[in-house]
C-alpha cells in the first residue's frame, strides 16, 4: 500500500544550524500521527517543508510523488497552524474564511487522477465536486460551528477560531491534515471539543492527520502512531510502544524540561 506521506533523510538548516537532522518516517492512509518534541525541536520547520514553504535536503513524497506532481497535490493538504495572524477588525465572517478553503473542481479532479496513477482510489475527492455552499455547510457542521456561520471572526474565541481553520481545510477533503500545536492558545474546555473534532474527522471522514502537541495525555488518547523528535527522530511507531517505553518517555520529558529552562533563561 502506498504511503500518504514519506519523508526520507530530511535535513533542514538555517545558516550553519540544523533544525531538522536526517529524519525519515512515513504516514499511512487513515493514520493519526502525533508528533511530540520540545520547543525548538523542528516540528514547525518540518511541517513548513512538507507544505513547500521551506527548502530542504532529502526526499518528501506525497502518494509517492515528488517534484511538480508533489507541488500540484499541495493545495490538497490542509494546515492549521498554532495561530493565524490577522487584523482583529478583519471584516470577514466564519463563512467568508471557510469559503477561502474551497479549491476549484479542476484542481480536485487533477489531484484525484494523479493519486489514481499510483493505484489508490480516491473517490472521495470526486464527491467534493459541485456546490461550494454545500461543502462549506458540511464542513461547519462537522466542526460544530454551523450556527456561527455569519459571526465575524474577530468575535470568536481561540478554540472556535481553530475549528474555523479546520473547517477551512475540510471543505477540500484534504489528503492530509497537518495540525501544528493547534490548541496552544485554547482554554481546556475548548481543547476537549477540538480533540473530539480531530477524532471524528480521522475516524468518520478517514482523513490522515499529522498533529504536533505537547499534550502527551491527548496524544495517548487520540493518536494511533507517535513520532518523537528533537532535531533528530528518536522514535517512530505505534503509541503503545512509545508509552510503554519508560526510558523513552523519561528522555522526552527531560529534554522538554531542559529546553523549557533554556528558553526561560534565554528570555
Amino acid at each position: 500500500m502506498t504511503s500518504v506521506l514519506e519523508v526520507e533523510d530530511l535535513s533542514i538548516g538555517y545558516n550553519s544550524h540544523l533544525a531538522v537532522d536526517k529524519i525519515s518516517f512515513d504516514v499511512a492512509e487513515g493514520d493519526l500521527l502525533g508528533i511530540v518534541g520540545p520547543n525548538g525541536a523542528g516540528k514547525t520547520t518540518l511541517f513548513r517543508a512538507i507544505l513547500g514553504l521551506q527548502p530542504y535536503s532529502g526526499k518528501i513524497k506525497l502518494f509517492g510523488f515528488e517534484g511538480s506532481k508533489y507541488r500540484s497535490l499541495l493545495p490538497l493538504i490542509g494546515y492549521v497552524p498554532q495561530k493565524v495572524a490577522f487584523e482583529p477588525n478583519f471584516p470577514a465572517t466564519v463563512y467568508d474564511i471557510v469559503s477561502m478553503g474551497v479549491i476549484s473542481d479542476k484542481k480536485l479532479v487533477k489531484g484525484a487522477k494523479l493519486i489514481q496513477q499510483c493505484g489508490c482510489c480516491w473517490d472521495r475527492i470526486y464527491k467534493k465536486i459541485g456546490n461550494n455552499d454545500d461543502k462549506i455547510t458540511e464542513a461547519l457542521k462537522t466542526v460544530g460551528l454551523k450556527s456561527l456561520r455569519n459571526r465575524r471572526i474577530g468575535e470568536l474565541s481561540g478554540g472556535e477560531l481553530q475549528r474555523v481553520f479546520i473547517a477551512k481545510s475540510l471543505v477540500k477533503d484534504p489528503l492530509l491534515l497537518i495540525l501544528d500545536e493547534p490548541v496552544t492558545s485554547v482554554d481546556v474546555e475548548s481543547q476537549a471539543k477540538f480533540y473530539n473534532v480531530i477524532k471524528k474527522i480521522n475516524e468518520e471522514n478517514n482523513i490522515t492527520i499529522i498533529w504536533s502537541s505537547h499534550d502527551l495525555d491527548a496524544i495517548s488518547k487520540y493518536a494511533n502512531r507517535v513520532a518523537c523528535m528533537n532535531r533528530k527522530l528518536f522514535f517512530h511507531g505505534g503509541k503503545e510502544e512509545f508509552f510503554s517505553d519508560e526510558e523513552l518517555l523519561k528522555t522526552y520529558t527531560e529534554s522538554s524540561m531542559q529546553m523549557h529552562m533554556h528558553n526561560h533563561d534565554g528570555h
Binding site: G40, L74, G101, V102, L161, S185
Partner: protein, 284 residues
C-alpha cells in the same frame, strides 16, 4: 434645484464619472486598507504627478504617461517591499518622494506650473470631456469586474499571505496584479479629487464601513454607498456654493466617518468585542 443642476451636460458627466470613481476607490480601498497599504494611493498619486509632468514636458497626453509611470511605480514599490525587507510605509515614502521629485524637476525645467497641472493636483471633475467620461466608465467597469472575479483570491491574500500560498494561490503574481489594479484605480480617480486628496476616497469610506462590524461583502457594500453619497452630494453642494468639488467630497466623507464613529460610541451601532487571544510562542 437638483433638476436644474442635472440639466447641464458637465454636471451629468461629473456625476456619472464621480460615481464610477467612488465605486472603484472604495472597492479597491477595502483591500488596500486591510493590507495596511492605506497610503499606497497617496504614494502612487505622487508618482502620477511625476507621470503627468513627463507628459506635459514631452507634449504627450499626460494621463497616458501618468498610467505608465504609476504602474511602474507600483511594481517598484512591491519589489522594494519583497526584496529589501523595507516596511510598507517606508517603501511608500521612497516611491512617493521619488515621483514628486521627478515632477518638480520637469515642471521647473518647463517654466513652472500650468493650468493642466493644477487640474491634476486638485481635481477637475466639472471640466472633464465626453472622452474622459467614457474612459473612466470603461476602466471602472474593468476594475470592478476584475475585483469581483478575483475577490476570493484577493481576500485570501489580504487575510494571510502564507495561508494563501499554502492553498496553492500564485501569491507573487497576485501581488503584482493587485498593485497594477491599484495603480490604475488611483490614476483613473485623479480627475475627481486630484492627486493631493485621492487617498481620502480610498481610506475614509472603508474605515467608516468597517466600524459597522459586518462581513466582507456587506462591508464593501457599505463602503461603496458612503463613497457614492459623498461624491454625489459633494458635487451638488460644490455647484450650489461655488466651491471646489474635490474638497467638498472629501469633507462630506470625513463628516460621515465622524457620524459613524459617534453613533458607534453611543451604542447605536453594535460594538464589536474583540476577544484577545493569548500570546503564544512560535515553535521551531
Amino acid at each position: 434645484m437638483v433638476i436644474e443642476a442635472l440639466s447641464y451636460g458637465f454636471m451629468q458627466k461629473a456625476l456619472v464619472s464621480g460615481i464610477a470613481v467612488g465605486l472603484i476607490c472604495s472597492f479597491m480601498g477595502t483591500f488596500l486598507v486591510l493590507r495596511r497599504y492605506s497610503l499606497f494611493g497617496d504614494g502612487i498619486a505622487h508618482v502620477a504627478f511625476g507621470g503627468v509632468s513627463v507628459g506635459l514636458f514631452l507634449g504627450v497626453f499626460p494621463l497616458w504617461t501618468a498610467f505608465i509611470v504609476s504602474i511602474l511605480g507600483g511594481l517598484g514599490l512591491q519589489k522594494l517591499r519583497q526584496s529589501t525587507q523595507i516596511s510598507g510605509d517606508s517603501a511608500v515614502a521612497v516611491v512617493l518622494v521619488s515621483g514628486l521629485a521627478i515632477g518638480v524637476i520637469l515642471v521647473s525645467s518647463s517654466g513652472g506650473f500650468s493650468v493642466d497641472l493644477f487640474s491634476f493636483l486638485f481635481g477637475s471633475i466639472l471640466l472633464i470631456s465626453n472622452e474622459d467620461t467614457l474612459m473612466i466608465l470603461a476602466i471602472s467597469a474593468g476594475i470592478i469586474a476584475t475585483l469581483t472575479v478575483m475577490q476570493k483570491q484577493f481576500l485570501h491574500l489580504t487575510f494571510n499571505e502564507e495561508q494563501a500560498k499554502i492553498a496553492g494561490l500564485p501569491v507573487t503574481l497576485l501581488n503584482y496584479a493587485f498593485v497594477i489594479l491599484a495603480s490604475i484605480t488611483v490614476v483613473t480617480s485623479m480627475r475627481l479629487v486630484g492627486i493631493l486628496l485621492i487617498s481620502a476616497l480610498i481610506v475614509i469610506p472603508n474605515i467608516a464601513a468597517m466600524a459597522f462590524g459586518k462581513g466582507f461583502k456587506k462591508t464593501v457594500g457599505i463602503s461603496m454607498s458612503i463613497s457614492v453619497i459623498s461624491v454625489v452630494s459633494g458635487i451638488l453642494l460644490s455647484y450650489y456654493y461655488n466651491v471646489a468639488p474635490s474638497g467638498t467630497i472629501v469633507m462630506i466623507a470625513v463628516a460621515i466617518l465622524i457620524a459613524v464613529l459617534g453613533a458607534r460610541s453611543a451604542g447605536l451601532i453594535s460594538k464589536i468585542e474583540i476577544k484577545k487571544q493569548p500570546q503564544t510562542t512560535h515553535n521551531s
